[in-house]
Subunit: 439 residues, 2 copies
């Protein structure tokens, strides 16, 4: 993208309303615009990031054998009356009356609707296991929305639901989700630590939250420092393997890691003192196993091999897609701006023309722009008539993983400068080697 | 996808509530489920179709130089009070009061919000031309929703907005949109004829609707039959070329083509009688130029080259993304089911195993499944223990463009049968030639 043709309304001033760094940087880099309290537009660069995050979530869910679908934002109240949650949910639920006076609501989550879909279409244990998910806008009418997209009212969430014949099968689904979530976060450059959690309004005996360590996190977390060394990495995963998924869950949950909701000092002290850590974390996902909590009241049963009608065992699993855009920035920035992990970056390389209007630098920038575009590296070319200083500041703010600086002096020696946004390290490189270096 | 592991709840009976063929076939093939009047879930196969349509729209908009972004579903009432449309919109607008008693609404369209974004960030003519668009769920509280996703209450729409300094520039944006829309529809296997339309609540002097001819169409249309022979085809488009976009608009709008809203017999009779056609059509998009209708009351101005503050010239442009799923089926089906155009098809090839459990056919089906998957042809493998007749019926209903039938008799001769869903033509083919034949 050429900056002169893009819509990237960067702000020079720090917006007064932003209390945390991700909110500040998302506003300053022209990613979002607030439309009402806790409700945001995603401007073109913010939208690209959101899509990149969404695509990673889709890819990893499909890899785990889960089926994407899409439920509507508006739901009829009846479903929630059936499960008994219509009154429980309180004022966070956005209630709506349609023109015919029917009670509707903007879905904050979808356990009821997916259970309704299941019971309408599935009758036999032979159709199990089944996991359906969607990524859809949700609404929770928070009394005090804040921190930008981190705690908005309208937010984008992946929520998935597994249906299984037995508790054992449903626990495999639980473990499978844990593994697929770990992989999802790692691809985004995040370490998200699974921590024992509480069920809350969803319910459930088994539940883990995934927390990204960050000073601005809303939760206090207590954990064994050795957990920071555990990574899924590039290991092969067979999502059909009960044993492998179980052993990864064991590996990632053996050490102490809890939020303040579930923290118990009496257990924490069993961790050697040198490894005990107290920090803050951002919740970016949660998985639940809740058995027959919804299937029983809503009559979601199947016929088992013996011909009995039995309620299915279910769980639900959520990733905060829009919130992740903020969480990634909280975990990856410096005083100059965002530092995008490669897979999430809206543009993988910035091209900075030191002397716009100079035939040599203009020509080289155009050539690199064309080559990098062809290689799928989505360059952002700052082709404005601006001082070099302003261009450097914008590039640092926007946070492309790589920057190529093209100046007349370098070109005389047949080189451009390649800089890594994260490490700050620069090297001179022959332009013809750039694409292979970055691919 | 293996059918035994998929969630494809096909219905054997014709659903009583469906009055038109696309609604019937979408329900029967397990694409959608109604959750409330005019509100649908998109089950996995329906979702794949919706995504394919959405991706084509994105690709063609980006090719035309337009920037994708995303505005929220919930909007504050204030913006609509500013433009004067809050009261005009009547009961089709879904009005909502949040927990703090603020008036909100579920957006039926986004002229106000995009104008607000523009005026907040753009001040100079140098930042023009600019076209922003998004694809987002909308809500119109239709008094009598019907015809499935064709006239739902919650629907998925691409809406784009251009901002230009002059009327001439804005008319180029109008023409550019017309061309990009023609290309979008053609890629979906549709012929959508641009017809002179009325502005309606959006307003505007220039507006065209795009209509797909179909017996079940809601609009009566009058046109010159020779228009059916005009195609954009594979011609190279330069969206920056004012002359080329204008000449394509002229080419596609020279012949008489109007809906009942704008039809004038006195002009229609100038078309030779042999070419005069009266038919029915489905509206799948509309483009508008409305000048300063929103920019003036909302203060969306830029400084021009002479230093004057001038209101920008705008237009808006919509494609009914969810509606298109229905429109494509209306235009492309037979008595046995859907006939998907290739690019929209959720699966490009169906694999039909005539004798599930036979080592020979099972082995060949697995091999073809693996090869076709690798080639990106997204096969749907019917691996159920079912009679061949039931499998043929399901495949015809689901409507993959190609079907490969694998039976013991053919395998003895070293061939499988390849059938074109549209023409019904079959040929015997060596399995090793299949991928290259379909790629």
């Amino acid at each position: 993208m050429r900056l002169t043709r893009y819509f990237l309304p960067v702000l020079k001033e720090n917006p007064a309303e932003a209390q945390i760094v991700s909110h500040r940087l998302m506003l300053r880099s022209g990613m979002i615009k607030q439309q009402a309290a806790g409700i945001y537009s995603w401007l073109p660069m913010g939208f690209k990031v959101l899509k990149n995050i969404e695509n990673i979530v889709h890819e990893e869910q499909i890899r785990a054998g889960h089926h994407p679908m899409l439920m509507p934002t508006i739901q009829p109240a009846e479903l929630w009356q059936e499960s008994g949650r219509y009154n429980d949910y309180g004022r966070e639920m956005l209630r709506i009356e349609d023109r015919h006076g029917r009670d509707m609501l903007f879905g904050p989550t979808n356990e009821e609707m997916i259970t309704d879909i299941f019971r309408s279409h599935v009758n036999s244990y032979k159709d199990l296991p089944l996991t359906l998910y969607h990524i859809q806008w949700k609404f929770r009418d928070e009394v005090r929305p804040r921190f930008g997209v981190m705690r908005g009212r309208e937010f984008y969430m992946k929520d998935g639901y597994n249906f299984d014949l037995t508790e054992a099968d449903a626990l495999h689904a639980y473990n499978r989700h844990l593994v697929s979530y770990l992989r999802t976060y790692e691809r985004m450059g995040l370490q998200a630590i699974p921590m024992k959690a509480e069920g809350g309004p969803v319910g459930g005996d088994h539940t883990h939250e995934f927390l990204v360590l960050a000073e601005t996190g809303e939760s206090e977390v207590f954990y064994d420092a050795r957990i920071e060394d555990i990574r899924l990495g590039a290991r092969e995963i067979d999502y059909g393997s009960v044993a492998q998924c179980r052993s990864i869950l064991d590996e990632f949950t053996a050490l102490y890691a809890r939020t303040d909701d579930t923290h118990e000092d009496a257990i924490f002290v069993e961790t050697p003192e040198e490894f005990r850590r107290k920090a803050r974390g951002i919740e970016v996902g949660q998985i639940f196993y809740f058995g027959t909590k919804y299937s029983e009241p809503m009559g979601a049963t199947v016929q088992d091999a013996e011909g009995n009608q039995v309620p299915v065992h279910m769980g639900s699993h959520g990733i905060g897609v829009s919130r992740l855009a903020g969480a990634i920035i909280e975990a990856s920035h410096d005083e100059n701006g965002i530092i995008w992990p490669f897979e999430v970056a809206p543009f993988k390389v910035g091209i900075l023309n030191m002397k716009q209007g100079d035939a040599g630098t203009d020509g080289m920038c155009e050539q690199l722009y064309s080559e990098l575009t062809k290689a799928g590296l989505e360059p952002l070319y700052d082709d404005r008539e601006e001082r070099a200083g302003a261009k450097f500041a914008t590039m640092d703010l926007v946070g492309c993983p790589w920057r190529v600086t093209v100046g007349p002096r370098g070109l005389k020696n047949g080189v451009v400068e390649l800089t890594n946004r994260k490490t700050g390290e620069s090297e001179e490189i022959k332009p013809e080697l750039l694409v292979s270096k970055l691919s």
